[in-house]
Subunit: 106 residues, 2 copies
DNA sequence: ATAGTTTATCGTAAATATACGATGAATAGA
DNA sequence: TCTATTCATCGTATATTTACGATAAACTAT
């Protein structure tokens, strides 16, 4: 873009948008669902479930990490990922607040 | 991208991601908040509230329209927008289901 | 030591998103 | 009719995202 103006918005709006962005690709939604189902997943398992190359999955995992939605740890040659529930719950609340905001007033 | 693979995911995951994408820019979050506050807004009012050019705001409004989150109507030379609560509530439910899914099992 | 496994990162190509000014189309008001 | 207002759309520049193969780094097992 000619110039990025995202920083000129309210902090809460930027945070909310960043969270939404983390979930704006079906691969990342699928990863979150897989992590939710198994609680902990190694990278290879996720790669097998998705119709994407290993390097692409790694890239999506990195984005979820950057957004803070998941945590990663290393076990030998394998990488284990799980949902960061503390951060995730915070965003869940922020979403609920947003939805409430848009409800019709009586 | 070399090739778009989004369509290879589950329909529900694609829908969810599309909704998240609609809210993945602070300008669009700010627009939704403005519409929620006033119930109905004319385009010009929104442009005044945002630090963006009129054409850029129009573009963001179009994306929210495409996602189905808002509805638009014309009144003389003015354009009026409001939240499409039916669609919005559907997505709200879909978000809640997603959040529930990720909760720790006992 | 050597070979195999696993995964992050690099380089790159192509698609999409963001932003603006200019323009055009439609209406309102003089 | 002429002018002003409002807003969508077009064209365009630049940034970001998505995707892959190749490679490197770190560990495991032989």
């Amino acid at each position: 873009m000619a110039q990025n103006k995202k920083h000129e918005f309210e902090k809460s709006e930027i945070e909310f948008a960043d969270f939404a962005k983390a979930l704006s690709h079906p691969a990342r939604v699928a990863i979150m669902k897989a992590l939710a189902k198994k609680n902990v997943c190694i990278c290879g398992e996720i790669v097998e479930e998705l119709p994407l190359a290993q390097s692409t999955v790694s890239q999506h995992l990195k984005e979820l990490l950057n957004a803070g939605l998941i945590k990663g740890s290393v076990d030998g040659t394998k990488s284990c990922y799980c949902i960061d529930r503390k951060v995730f719950n915070k965003f869940s609340k922020s979403f609920n607040a947003f939805f409430l905001l848009t409800q019709e007033k009586e």
